[in-house]
């Protein structure tokens, strides 16, 4: 019985892991369209940002996914300070459905 369970677990795990690949293999997908940013009207940081986008989508992506969580954490910490100052308890709550 144990061996049967083992086989079943291996089979189901393999199914979960391979399903996306099988679907990928079956899928189509179209050619990507690259839009080039017009930097002529921009200056300063905006121009730098757009140039980075035009030069390398990879660097642009890496920077984006670093900036977003960083900004999120900064805002989160700031709000913590404000709410602590106001006097709201941020460490406990009652668990009840009604």
């Amino acid at each position: 019985m144990k061996a049967l369970w083992k086989k079943m677990i291996v089979a189901v795990t393999a199914m979960f892991l391979l399903m996306p690949m099988a679907a990928f293999a079956a899928g189509g997908g179209g050619a990507g369209i690259v839009i080039v940013a017009d930097t002529r009207k921009l200056s300063g940081i905006m121009a730098w940002w757009s140039n980075l986008y035009n030069e390398s989508h990879l660097y642009f992506t890496i920077l984006t996914i670093i900036i977003i969580p960083t900004v999120g954490v900064i805002f989160g910490v700031l709000a913590d300070i404000v709410m602590h100052f106001v006097g709201i308890d941020l460490k406990s709550r009652d668990l009840a459905e009604h």
């Binding site: 189901v12 979960f16 999120g72 006097g87 709201i88 459905e97």
Partner: protein, 351 residues
């Protein structure tokens, strides 16, 4: 009034930036409260402000990652996030989402994608709305029965209890999910997340709208933990989506950051509000949001059957979604302020 408009460097469109902040506040409150990204509200909003649809989706996903991070941090402090459950569910969500996305490619090839997505979405949302209000009705019936017999219903009691049947499935490995208070087969959260991921992939949505009720009704998570854990998943999938859309050149980070200014305030309000509104209050408000979503989709479907109504139904759908965002945000904010006032007053009274 030129200073109220800002040129977006990548998409090249000029946007009314206070609109981005207002949109961010509204969806931040609702997202932090319900535990979802709220793409169904933000994407049309960004589109109305002037973004082409692809940029609206990419920018929404990018801001969603930051906003969900803020909400997850807050819910984490309240003990509302079951990280173990979240990590287990990511396995199923990613697999399911990719299978769903590839099925969309196949549906596109056979020319049925629009029909399947629209009606599938409608059927699913109708089912979720029924589920929520059926649960509320059952819970009230339990309350009435207990009151009649002079007893008190347990604080954590729920109406629908499908999860109790699903927890009887004992396929190893079994897992203890301590924050959610669940002991079940690991295959249950994997299967549920695969199913919700697959549906999200087919429907082209983030999945919070499906995952939150699934966590409650199929896994048996308390409402607050379902909200927090779902946000943890939204944060990770949002970050992945942000990377993917940005690499494809469809994210306007400047707009996402402006939205994040508003959303950071909104996300705090929505998350803290869950401290003062009990589980069934969250469930009823969630059901109302789902009904609003259903009506807006029906409005979008009407022109397929009645010619010449597109302009009117489009306006009605926009007003409905915006009205719902405003009404729900106002309700959540008022309840949050009332709860915080009570708590601070009680603290002062204790000295």
């Amino acid at each position: 009034m030129d200073w109220l408009y800002i040129l977006m460097p990548i998409s090249g469109v000029t946007i009314f930036w206070p609109g981005l902040i207002i949109l961010g506040v509204g969806v931040g409150i609702i997202g932090g409260f319900f535990g979802m990204g709220g793409a169904w509200m933000v994407t049309p909003g960004l589109n109305i402000l002037g973004f082409p649809m692809a940029f609206a989706i990419g920018t929404d996903i990018a801001h969603m990652a930051g906003k969900s991070l803020i909400s997850t941090m807050r819910h984490g402090k309240f003990g509302n996030v079951d990280y173990k459950l979240g990590v287990i569910m990511i396995v199923g969500t990613v697999g399911g989402f990719e299978v769903g996305a590839q099925m969309i490619m196949w549906l596109e090839r056979i020319g049925s994608v629009d029909k399947v997505v629209r009606y599938g979405y409608l059927a699913l949302l109708t089912f979720i709305a029924w589920l929520v209000f059926h649960d509320v009705a059952k819970r009230r019936a339990k309350d009435r029965a207990a009151l009649a017999s002079g007893q008190k219903v347990d604080e954590k009691a729920t109406g629908i209890e499908w999860h109790k049947t699903l927890h009887k499935i004992k396929i190893p490995p079994m897992v203890h999910l301590n924050v959610a208070g669940i002991y079940c087969s690991a295959w249950l959260p994997i299967f549920v997340s695969f199913l919700t991921g697959w549906l999200a992939g087919i429907l082209g949505i983030g999945g919070g709208l499906i995952r939150m009720p699934s966590l409650i009704y199929l896994l048996g998570c308390p409402t607050h933990v379902a909200v927090g854990t779902d946000l943890f998943e939204v944060m990770i999938s949002g970050l992945y989506g942000a990377g993917s859309f940005t690499y494809k050149g469809r994210t306007e980070l400047v707009a996402a950051l402006i939205m994040l200014v508003g959303a950071s305030v909104g996300a705090q309000v929505g998350s803290v509000a869950t401290k003062y509104i009990k589980g069934y209050g969250i469930r009823i408000a969630f059901g109302t949001a789902v009904i609003g979503c259903i009506v807006s989709i029906v409005l979008k479907l009407i022109p397929d059957y009645i010619a010449g109504t597109k302009a009117t139904t489009d306006i009605l759908a926009v007003w409905l979604v915006n009205g719902l965002v405003v009404a729900l945000s106002a309700y959540i904010t008022i309840r949050m302020v009332q709860g915080a006032k009570r708590e601070i007053a009680a603290k002062k009274a204790r000295g």
